[in-house]
């Protein structure tokens, strides 16, 4: 093949690549727009969620992959020559010119092929067509976009429905934030239990459902309540486990102390006494001495009285009744003496123990003065305080960073004291408690974020349109313990302070239900059907205690007449 032919041939090769890239683009578009169409349909029915950036990305990936595959697909020169021959009706001139390099007609064939090839343009025989496939692909993309827009746009909704959708979407963002901040951090993900993972999934699903308005306000609120309750249960579960770990840690710490005393040869020393202070020990010793003296005095008194009784009994002329009376008194005194002797013996033993405790106290003091030991005790105390606060639903005293610091310190100590079995056990238990505390923190965050039992949607002054929303949700209390049906509710408003600096800020406003006697934000007839429906559902599902069922029915029946 001559250079000129080769050059022309290369042009044809590039044209084929271009056409193939276009074809690949169309095929990629067909496939991905088909998938997108199915996806949007699933999204429409709420089975699988779709977002427009994902759909666009999917189609774009299909286009890119298809066109790249088309562009990079190999083209053999023989195939190309054959193809050009067919398309340009060259009657196998080009194919022959490639293969025939010698012989009588070789040159003639080359010249003939070159002349014919020069007469055709690549675009003539490899046109880029807009055909059926392109039309189908474009139609599918358009259909996909239409379905997605119809399902997700608020364009065709009424003003009220638009507001509802906006509120749902706003709350969806809140749920998403709660999930992201508490359950989807990389370190949290590793630590989640199966139930917590399930909760994360449910939260994500709820968030999506709300985002896409696949659930009503009432359903969303009820689901949030359920999840918040579940989060609370999980938090308590974590708390129990944390308490167990702390108990194990305490036990390990005592073992360490006992071990130290054993090592000092004070096996009989009492730990509680060893833990006494110097003054306490002194006081106990003085008391012991006083007690001994008192006991001895009582003993000598009893001895004197016994001696007198013996003398009286030795006298003659005593009546039988007098003798019996004296004998009884003697036996009583002897019994008292025996008891006092035992008390004295016990006091003497106590005195010895106190003497020993002095030694143990010194040993113990030495132990407690050890900075490592002190550190451990401090950590344990902090941990216990943190857990207690969280268990009571209060703000934990330790920040996330402090907890991390605590964990690092624990791990450092564990490295230093890895040879000590009890210490190792102690640290392991503490780390475990810390892990549980973290889990508790997460669940607490979820529970608070979802605002357990307290509607947190909307805002603004009571009575305005937005403010009605939280009260119009048909919430029901699904906790196991039935709530008392009366009593006043104080309006509590917890509002975050605005930062003086510029930039985004977040605050949560929590409102209590209307106070008894005050004006309700929503006419009850507006919410009654929803409430009644929920109540009936609850009755059907036997979620209301048996003895309260009648009361619930009577309540709603009484409202019917009004």
């Amino acid at each position: 093949m001559t250079t000129a032919t080769q050059s022309r041939f290369t042009k044809f090769e590039w044209r084929v690549r271009e056409v193939r890239a276009w074809k690949g683009l169309v095929i990629g578009s067909l496939v991905t727009s088909g998938i997108s169409l199915v996806w949007t349909c699933l999204d429409w029915f709420g089975v699988l969620y779709a977002e427009w950036p994902w759909l666009i990305a999917l189609v774009a990936v299909g286009l890119a992959v298809g066109s790249l595959c088309g562009l990079a697909a190999p083209i053999s020169p023989a195939s190309l020559a054959d193809s050009i021959d067919r398309r340009a009706n060259l009657e196998n001139r080009l194919g022959s010119s490639q293969q025939v390099v010698d012989g009588e007609f070789a040159q003639a064939i080359q010249a003939d092929a070159e002349a014919h090839l020069a007469a055709i343009r690549p675009a003539q025989i490899y046109p880029i067509r807009l055909g059926r496939q392109e039309l189908i692909s474009a139609s599918m993309c358009a259909l996909c976009a239409a379905i997605f827009l119809l399902g997700n746009s608020t364009m065709f909704l009424s003003d009220k429905a638009k507001r509802d959708r906006a509120n749902l979407q706003s709350e969806a963002k809140n749920v998403e934030r709660v999930t992201r901040e508490n359950l989807e951090q990389p370190e949290a993900k590793q630590d989640l239990s199966d139930q917590e993972k399930q909760m994360a999934n449910e939260l994500n699903r709820l968030s999506r459902d709300m985002e896409k308005a696949h659930v009503s306000k009432e359903e969303a609120q009820a689901k949030e309540n359920d999840l918040a309750k579940k989060a609370d249960e999980l938090m308590h579960k974590r708390a129990d486990q944390a308490q167990q770990s702390l108990a194990t840690a305490q036990s390990a710490l005592e073992q360490m102390e006992r071990g130290e005393l054993d090592r000092q040869g004070m096996r009989d020393a009492s730990i509680s006494q060893a833990q006494m202070s110097q003054s306490e020990l002194q006081s106990a010793r003085s008391q012991n001495k006083a007690k001994q003296a008192d006991l001895r005095k009582q003993l000598s008194e009893i001895d004197r009285r016994l001696a007198e009784l013996r003398k009286k009994l030795a006298q003659k002329g005593l009546s039988e009744a007098e003798r019996k009376e004296l004998e009884r008194e003697r036996k009583l005194l002897e019994a008292q003496r025996k008891a006092l002797e035992q008390q004295l013996k016990s006091a003497e033993e106590d005195a010895k123990a106190l003497e020993l405790s002095e030694e143990a106290r010194k040993v113990f003091q030495k132990l407690t003065q050890d900075p490592l030991f002190k550190k451990l005790q401090e950590l344990q105390a902090k941990m216990a305080k943190d857990l207690n606060a969280m268990q009571q639903g209060q703000r934990p005293p330790l920040t996330k960073e402090e907890r991390e610091q605590l964990k690092r310190e624990m791990e450092e100590l564990a490295r230093q004291l890895k040879d000590d079995k009890a210490m190792k056990e102690y640290l392991q238990a503490m780390l475990d408690a810390m892990k549980q505390a973290k889990g508790m923190g997460r669940m607490l965050g979820v529970g608070r974020g979802l605002n357990l039992g307290i509607p947190m949607w909307g805002g603004g002054a009571p009575g305005d349109d937005q403010d009605r929303m939280p009260y119009d949700l048909g919430r029901i209390n699904k906790t196991d313990k039935p709530q008392a049906g009366r009593g006043s509710t104080n309006i509590t408003s917890v509002t975050g302070e605005k930062r003086p600096s510029a930039g985004p800020e977040q605050y949560v406003e929590i409102k209590a239900p209307s106070t008894v006697g005050n004006r309700s934000a929503v006419p009850y007839v507006n919410v009654l059907p929803s409430y009644r429906r929920k109540a009936e559902e609850a009755l059907d599902h036997q979620q209301i205690p048996k003895d309260q069922e009648k009361r619930v029915r009577e309540y709603f029946e009484s409202l019917n007449g009004k």
Partner: protein, 327 residues
């Protein structure tokens, strides 16, 4: 390139010269010349009086070639074709050449001869020599047999066996002339003047033409297509077509592939090309394969002739032979 030009020019000159005597029958004339250029024998099948003999005679006149005509009959012996040893005056045996010793032999109504005679003829066609009395006698070069057979009168005939039919390069069906052609034929043959062809080429030219044909290159794709066409006529095996499975009893022999390719080369040169195209093969397919395929009873019952069968085979093979670059 000069050779190709010369080939075309010579071919066209001979054709024109032959067409002076033969009215119409352009395709038959061309096919006969293709057979001549491709060094292949031609079997002509057609009704009596269609100018078969005239064609062959005209061809020999135009080429300055020796011509002999053998009218086959059932009582004809092989020696009547090949020649025989006769006792000469010097009391020695002398080989007396038969009519086969000519450049162009017209074997008229070959199917009327007995198989024994037919086979003697066909052996000469294949070997280009005859052996009589243990002595081999080379035939003239160029050597071309043009046999004819009548498709109608089958009584008392010995149809050529398939193995012998295979020796023919082409089988041409001579059609009945059109009304205008017939009028021309009638006028010429009943008038005073009859234009005889003049010699325009020599036997050496024919040999040169044959050599040039062999020089024409064939690309792999074209060869593949030729083989596909031949294989597609077989009822079994890979590459067989649905139509062959239905109607074919036996497909073409390898000689079919050789013939179609050689004929394709001639067609390429005639088209002014230096390479064989698939179109050339399609053009040559029927003439080269129609006598090489044996159709079954179903084909006969459905009225499928070899030509119809080959049309369907060509269509199937062409459909399967797709553009390697699909865009």
């Amino acid at each position: 390139m000069e050779n190709a030009t010369w080939f075309c020019s010579t071919f066209n000159t001979i054709r024109s010269e032959v067409q002076k005597a033969v009215v119409g029958q352009h395709e038959i004339v061309e096919a006969a010349l293709v057979g001549l250029a491709a060094n292949g024998h031609v079997l002509l099948e057609g009704m009596p009086g269609l100018g078969k003999t005239l064609l062959v005679r005209s061809l020999s006149q135009a080429l300055s070639l020796d011509f002999s005509r053998i009218q086959f009959t059932p009582d004809m012996m092989p020696a009547d074709v090949t020649g025989t040893n006769v006792l000469s005056e010097g009391r020695t045996f002398e080989f007396r050449r038969g009519p086969i010793f000519a450049h162009i032999v017209l074997a008229d109504e070959i199917n009327r001869a007995t198989p024994k005679t037919q086979s003697a003829m066909l052996e000469a066609m294949q070997e280009r020599s005859v052996t009589v009395g243990g002595k081999r006698h080379e035939l003239a070069e160029p050597f071309l047999v043009m046999a004819t057979q009548n498709p109608v009168e089958q009584e008392g005939t010995y149809p050529l066996p398939e193995a012998q039919l295979d020796r023919f390069f082409f089988k041409l069906i001579v059609p009945f002339p059109t009304k205008a052609e017939l009028a021309e034929v009638v006028l010429r043959t009943t008038g005073v003047e009859f234009q005889e062809p003049s010699p325009v080429a020599t036997p050496e030219d024919v040999v040169r033409m044959r050599r040039i044909v062999r020089e024409v290159p064939v690309s792999k794709e074209v060869l593949d297509y030729a083989l596909s066409l031949v294989i597609a006529t077989h009822p079994e095996g890979e590459g067989s077509t649905a139509v062959a499975k239905k109607y074919s009893r036996y497909g073409s022999s390898p000689r079919g592939a050789q013939s179609i390719l050689t004929a394709g080369k001639v067609h390429a040169l005639l088209a002014g090309r230096f390479n064989v195209a698939k179109e050339d093969l399609q053009k040559a397919a029927k003439a080269t394969l129609r006598h090489r395929v044996i159709l079954n009873f179903e084909a006969e019952a459905d009225g499928v002739t070899p030509d119809i069968f080959l049309d369907q085979v060509i269509e199937a093979v062409s459909k399967a032979d797709r553009d390697p670059i699909r865009v």
